[in-house]
Amino acid sequence: MPKPHSMIDRRQFLGAAALMGAATGLSSIPLIGAGAAEVAPKQGGHLRLGMSGGSTTDSLNPTTYLSWVPANIGYQIMNGLVEIDEHNQATPELLMNWESKPGAADWTFDVRRDITFSNGKTLDADDIIYSINLHRGKSSSPAKPTLAAVTDIKKLSPNKIQILMSSGNADLPFLLSDYHILAVPNGFTDWKNPIGTGCFVLEHYEAGVRCITKKTRPYWKPNCGYVDSVETLTINDVSARTAALLSGQVDAINRLDARTVDLLKKRPKVHVIQSAAGQHGLFVMNCTDAPYNDNNVRMALKYAIDRKQLLDTVLRGYGRIGNDQPIPSTNQYYDASLPQHSFDPDKAKFYLKKAGQTDLKVELNVNDVAFTGATDAAQLFQQTAKAAGINLSIKQQPADGYWSNIWMKAPFCASYWGGRPTADQMLTIAYKSDAPWNDTFWKNPEFDKLLLEARVELDQAKRKEMYGQMQGMISDTGGAIIPLFIDYLEAGSDRVHGMKPNPLFDFMGERIGEKVWLS
């Protein structure tokens, strides 16, 4: 048993390291040392996860994953092609040594050698090609749009593939890290019992209730695969999840309630992991609709919201302040030099005057289904807007049908975006002029052009500059008020060691099963 005071030290360390990680983009180097000094990795034990994000309608077919429980189980049994590490970098998993010709439309990847599936078959290029093709063509996979530009996948040798694209994309390795793209044997279709190269094999699965996986052989990935078995319980209610952790029925839980995290942290035997993430809550204005078609009005509203107050009250500090552009500080192309928008009633009044608005009335449509705390955030916004001379009224909308009836219909409403692995994906999906989910209806041909150029640019320095420019355009003229990026919060008991923040998804990018060890 670790001494209680050393646990507290480690908890504080984790919190501090997570905060530091957000600032530097390097979240884990000190943590490896800290974890190792605490309890050295050891084999064995039964890991029990209590997770939100599962439903009775789930399936283990990777082309159907919509939420975290099936994605997590998928990674227990199968491997991805590329892994996003804690520094938000693409690192080899089953694919490695990638290279691209100039233009980023012609890629080669090596397939990792000497890897076997749980049925004994050795992994080769055909398996990889089949697994990627599950998400192409007639597939209904959510990953299909991600791979839309892929025109052909060729086998160059049993351990080398070539991917050709209709238009280049320097982020292809990131795209292949999508959690839907998991490797199965060529021709595999028995999704009730998936076969993979992962650390565990499926033992029992009841959708939306419980899953058991067991380790039956040594795992190929270095410094991974410590526990003998994993039990994944779906516990969608946050109070039930917390109670299960506190009563020792599970070892780790995801998605904590920010409002009670401080209380949870005071409990002995529990440590909380906080990950800076790309997910953000926002208020979107339709840039083609009066009065939001005037950028001065948009700017006035951007200066009329008190981001610090929202962070401290709505998220209890468990987030980062946003700057009205969607690229998070954990992203390698984040531009920290952009001037930060902050609450400034004088500036807001200045922009209102410029817009010729003396008595601006706006109506904000909200529901907490957009993001947790959206209604509270709107109410705080209402107060600060009043100080800036804007009469903001709140219209509470029903949760049912919010995404189909309010979002992209009402000119000013609450919205949400989950983080995307790359800047290009985030900007393409929601800010390109012709994007179907351009929820601000912001159209900027110069931005579109820059976006396409940056996508194929292989020179990192140049690329970073281009993405910085695009972030500036959105921040200064876009229709999104992005006050907050929301951190992922998860907790583990003192049995679990090696839990670390991840910039992409919670539970260590959903690969927690192969990464932690128990004492």
């Binding site: 439903s55 009841e206 939306g208 419980r210 969608n236 109070s239 039930a240 049908g401 995404w403 189909s404």
Partner: protein, 319 residues
């Protein structure tokens, strides 16, 4: 023969009610805002995707056709296919129904004897310490919302003492005793919620009979209060007690969604809520129909039993 006719009549009335409920269920689900297509696609709905999905799911047929189609299936034992998973509803629903009945049964085995026993004791010792304590405690537990009672129990027995699990996850192949252990906290919660109603009804209806002249006669014969209550008052008070027990049994099956959510119990209630939020209307209708059957069935049974227990009704039926 008259009693048989009464039973047949009550049963026929039950079936008729069930038909009315099926119609209401169907109409009710049609009134929900949005449809399964928009709920399935969520934030990712585009008009084209919506149109394709609607056509695929047969949502463009007129409502009455869909109702008749559904009713025809149900009458042939086919509850339909889930719109979200594409699997037959019965295959998922029936194991969950078994779970719900298990929990309801567990709670009922504790709650009914406890409530009726305490009710009778309270009637015997009217105004005594036991009567007043039982009354106050049961009123207190029924006045708190179920989720509050659940959380209090979890804090004390799961997080505090660590005696009982806070998660009531049960699964196939789980042993009877571990199943019992897992469902103890929810069963206690449900017991606390339903005891008050039955206890007070038992006490009140027994006491109501106690003011009758024939009870006075019994007392004058020199019988003890216990014998009077058990031998003379209780048999005549059975009718209302059976009814209130039936209503509470039905509640244990159909009204436990909140408790299922708090304890993460894989029962029908949770399943129905999932289906409502996904607009999986055939599943919602199937769950609703199961609930209605349980409710109507138990109430019909209670009516029949009450009639059999009541000498006046019994003799009235004989004429």
């Amino acid at each position: 023969m008259a009693i048989l006719r009464f039973i047949v009549f009550r049963a026929a009335l039950g079936v008729l009610t069930l038909f009315a409920v099926s119609l209401l269920l169907f109409l009710g689900t049609q009134l929900l805002p949005g449809d399964v297509a928009s709920a399935l696609l969520g934030q990712s709905a585009t008009p084209e995707a919506l149109a394709v999905l609607r056509a695929k799911l047969g949502l463009n047929d007129p409502a009455y056709l869909r109702y008749l189609h559904w009713l025809f299936g149900v009458l042939h034992g086919n509850l339909g296919t889930s719109l979200t998973t594409g699997t037959p509803i019965a295959s998922v629903l029936l194991p969950r129904l078994a779970n719900t009945l298990f929990l309801a049964g567990y709670a009922a085995i504790i709650a009914v004897p406890l409530a009726v026993g305490l009710g009778i004791l309270s009637a015997i010792r009217e105004g005594g310490i036991l009567d007043r304590t039982a009354s106050i405690l049961s009123l207190a537990t029924i006045s708190f919302p179920e989720f509050f009672v659940s959380y209090i129990l979890i804090v004390i027995f799961a997080s505090g003492f660590g005696w009982l699990p806070s998660l009531a996850t049960v699964y196939d192949g789980m042993g009877f005793w571990s199943r019992l252990d897992a469902t103890t906290l929810p069963a206690i919660t449900l017991t606390l919620v339903v005891v008050a109603h039955m206890l007070r009804m038992t006490r009140t209806s027994t006491l109501a009979v106690m003011s009758s002249p024939y009870i006075e006669t019994a007392f004058l014969k020199g019988m003890s209060r216990t014998r009077v209550v058990l031998g003379h008052a209780l048999p005549n008070a059975l009718g209302p007690i059976i009814n209130v027990v039936a209503i509470n049994l039905a509640y244990l099956v159909v009204g436990v969604v909140v408790v299922e959510v708090v304890f993460v119990y894989p029962g029908v209630g949770q399943f129905m809520v999932d289906a409502v939020s996904k607009r999986d209307l055939p599943t919602v209708q199937a769950c609703g129909l199961i609930f209605a059957t349980v409710f109507i069935g138990l109430n019909t049974l209670a009516d029949i039993l009450a009639a059999l227990a009541n000498p006046r009704l019994r003799s009235g039926l004989r004429q």
